[in-house]
């Protein structure tokens, strides 16, 4: 245990001091900051349009409460034109009488955007109120007349010829989340896979491996490296969680963030979906990191580390693209793939997101992945023991063949 921790600590410390790990952690934050900054800047520079309004007093009084566009009452169309010429307003709205069927809007082509649809909606509402009043309708009667018809949507799942009510779900949102997490997983496994493959390839290339293996079993070293990588992933996700939590607490003081959060209907995502996502994310990252470590142990030096990552990336790409195809309906191929290790962590959450599968199928896939992960980590640790002593410049496959003969000799 002491030596396992020592190896994990070494991996952790070396990466904490490396530029590549910090860039991996900071890049998403920098990207968010840039997007947020641009959004803030746009927000600051985009002022609501100013529209001069020449209209009867009742209309002017109703429009003056609007915030976008802002209306500036004028006594006559001529006074409004004067303001327009002086570029003090972006548009001029002329309304002859409160219930006119048509009005005139003049806009400056170099001014802020004035949306005619918004103005049309406002004036239509005013017109409706005025007409209702002239017909002697009460406010309650008017409200009743204008009340929109409510359409209740109930989603059902066809299962074994039966219609079963699906839970209160927002499929589109879940589907997007599943794909986003799949993409995040792809980024993580690419980064951490590269780190672990690079780490092992460097130790092999610098021949420090034998010195280490004189004091520690190869399996212990292997698991120590994985533990170190897991700690790095934990720190990164922890940092995001802290920042996310902080942002959540500060959302009321941060209007742009608040508006963004309001766009998402958090209630509709559901805890089961969140837990499924976390489960597949953890299993996926662990599986791919172990695979990357195994491939990294097959190359001879740091320069070949990129070669080691190729099979890992191809496999992840298959999973990700298959997940993208899930929304088009699941055929038998996607169905089988969604249970296969390495592919399942990306495909199954997407299928769950669009309600193609229920919790039972998800549970089965999680169990398959977990059992595979345990077996694969034991196999990988054994293979690693043979691989780290093998040096071959003829590619991964040749190294793998050579490694198998060493593995047989080690038994």
């Amino acid at each position: 245990m002491r030596k396992l921790n020592l190896i994990a600590k070494m991996v952790f410390r070396k990466n904490m001091h490396s530029f590549s790990w910090w860039s991996l952690v900071l890049m998403p934050l920098i990207a968010l900051a840039i997007i947020g900054g641009i959004s803030w800047y746009m927000d600051q520079t985009n002022q609501p349009a100013q529209v001069a309004v020449a209209a009867p007093a009742a209309v002017r009084a109703s429009l003056k409460h609007s915030s976008d566009p802002k209306f500036q009452p004028v006594t006559s169309a001529a006074a409004g034109q004067k303001l327009l010429k002086a570029s003090k307003v972006d548009g001029l709205l002329t309304v002859a009488q409160a219930t006119s069927p048509s009005v005139k809007l003049v806009v400056r082509d170099d001014g802020e955007t004035v949306d005619p649809a918004t103005i049309k909606t406002m004036l239509t509402a005013l017109n409706t109120q005025a007409v209702a009043k002239s017909l002697g309708l009460s406010q309650a009667a008017l409200a009743q007349m204008l009340r929109p018809t409510q359409v209740t949507v109930k989603t059902v799942t066809v299962s074994d010829g039966q219609l079963k009510a699906a839970a209160n779900k927002s499929e589109g949102l879940k589907s997007i989340l599943a794909l986003a997490v799949g993409f995040l997983m792809y980024l993580f496994l690419m980064s951490y896979g590269s780190i672990v493959a690079q780490e092992i390839a460097t130790e092999k290339g610098s021949r420090i491996e034998e010195s280490i293996l004189a004091a520690i079993k190869a399996q212990t070293q292997f698991y120590g490296k994985l533990l170190g990588i897991a700690e790095l992933v934990g720190v990164q996700l922890g940092a995001y969680a802290v920042l996310g939590g902080g942002a959540w607490l500060l959302r009321r003081h941060w209007p742009a963030l608040n508006d963004l959060l309001r766009l998402v209907d958090w209630q509709q995502i559901g805890w089961s979906f969140v837990l499924v996502m976390i489960g597949f994310f953890v299993l996926g990252i662990l599986s791919y990191t172990i695979l990357a470590a195994l491939c990294g142990s097959l190359v001879s030096n740091q320069e070949q580390a990129g070669m080691a990552m190729q099979p890992v990336l191809y496999l992840a790409m298959i999973g990700y693209f298959a997940a993208l195809m899930v929304s088009n309906g699941a055929g038998p191929v996607i169905n089988v793939m969604s249970y296969l290790p390495f592919l399942s962590p990306m495909i199954m959450p997407a299928r769950f997101g669009v309600d193609q599968v229920g919790l039972l199928q998800v549970g089965i896939a999680l169990a398959i992945n977990l059992v595979f992960l345990l077996g694969f980590s034991i196999f990988a640790a054994r293979a690693y023991r043979a691989n780290v002593l093998v040096y071959s410049d003829s590619g991964i496959l040749a190294a793998f063949k050579k490694s198998r003969s060493v593995a047989k000799a080690q038994r």
């Binding site: 021949r207 034998e210 010195s211 280490i212 004189a214 004091a215 002593l389 003969s405």
Partner: protein
């Protein structure tokens, strides 16, 4: 005590090590010699449990070595490697702790070791900024600082200049005094002769020589005579009874005898004219024995 008993290792059809046996007592230094591919590194890897023997056993103090915690083993591999981006201190701390030392102990002893090996650099210097010689010294310190009870050195003198080779020898002697069992391989027979208490020579995986340097040389008899500035010519020396071959290097002659008893008559003949600068009758050097053994047909 390390005991290697009848150890055999095969890779497919090839036998890399064939029934090799030896022991190393505490405080003893064993030299393992042989050509490239003779089986030295495979033997080391089996002792380190990086490879399992197909036959035979390797034990430490009577216990199978593979089952023991390896803190007591120090190893310097043939091909040297360090973490270039780490500092000297971080590097030695890692290996010291990997061999069971506490961070505090490594910290307390590091300066002594840096001084002992005359490392030109500070604790906080990165390995990549050191000269090759100093990097080798740091790796030696990393292997020795835990004062292992079993020390394995694979070609430790390779790439070292004579001054650094002496520092290494002093370091090995220090461990020997502490009671460590030490095994090392080398192609330089002068180092083997000066450092080894006993030696084992491997050829194609098999032991072809075992014993102390004196015992091995004695097996061949005192069949070499070295002469400095003799009065006789090379042809005259070659014609003497019992002389098989004469090699001349300047005014120095080396006579290979068919029988060591011919030495007395040769001495009388070369000194018949009076003073000569040098006469030495001795067994073949370890280097010669190594070459002879390598050249012998396999049994």
């Amino acid at each position: 005590m390390l005991e290697v008993a009848g150890v055999t290792k095969r890779f497919g059809d090839q036998t890399a090590v064939d029934e090799v046996s030896f022991t190393i007592a505490p405080g003893e230094i064993l030299g393992l010699i042989g050509q490239n591919g003779a089986g030295k590194t495979t033997t080391f890897r089996m002792i380190l449990d990086l490879l399992q023997p197909d036959a035979g056993r390797i034990s430490w103090q009577g216990q199978p070595l593979a089952q023991l915690n390896r803190d007591f083993i120090g190893y310097l591999p043939e091909e040297r490697g360090l973490y270039p981006k780490l500092t000297i201190e971080e590097q030695v701390q890692f290996f010291g702790q990997l061999h069971g030392m506490t961070a505090k102990d490594v910290d307390a002893q590091l300066d002594d070791w840096l001084h002992r090996f005359e490392v030109k650099g500070k604790r906080k210097d990165k390995i990549k900024d050191l000269s090759k010689g100093n990097q080798q010294k740091v790796q030696l310190i990393a292997a020795l600082i835990a004062m292992p009870k079993l020390l394995i050195l694979d070609e430790p003198f390779s790439g070292l200049d004579p001054v650094n080779a002496s520092l290494l020898e002093a370091g090995v002697r220090l461990l020997q005094k502490s009671g460590a069992a030490i095994i090392f391989s080398s192609h330089d027979m002068r180092n083997v002769e000066s450092l080894s208490d006993r030696l084992v020579m491997l050829k194609n995986g098999r032991e072809v020589l075992t014993g102390t340097v004196a015992e091995i040389r004695a097996q061949y008899g005192r069949v070499r005579i070295h002469l400095d500035e003799p009065a006789l010519s090379k042809a005259e020396l070659a014609a003497l009874p019992g002389v098989a071959q004469v090699t001349q290097t300047g005014s120095h002659f080396e006579l290979a005898l068919t029988d060591e008893t011919a030495g007395q008559a040769i001495f009388d003949r070369v000194t018949a004219g009076g003073y000569i600068a040098g006469f030495r009758q001795q067994a073949p050097s370890l280097d010669e024995i190594f070459r002879m053994k390598v050249g012998e047909p396999d049994a």
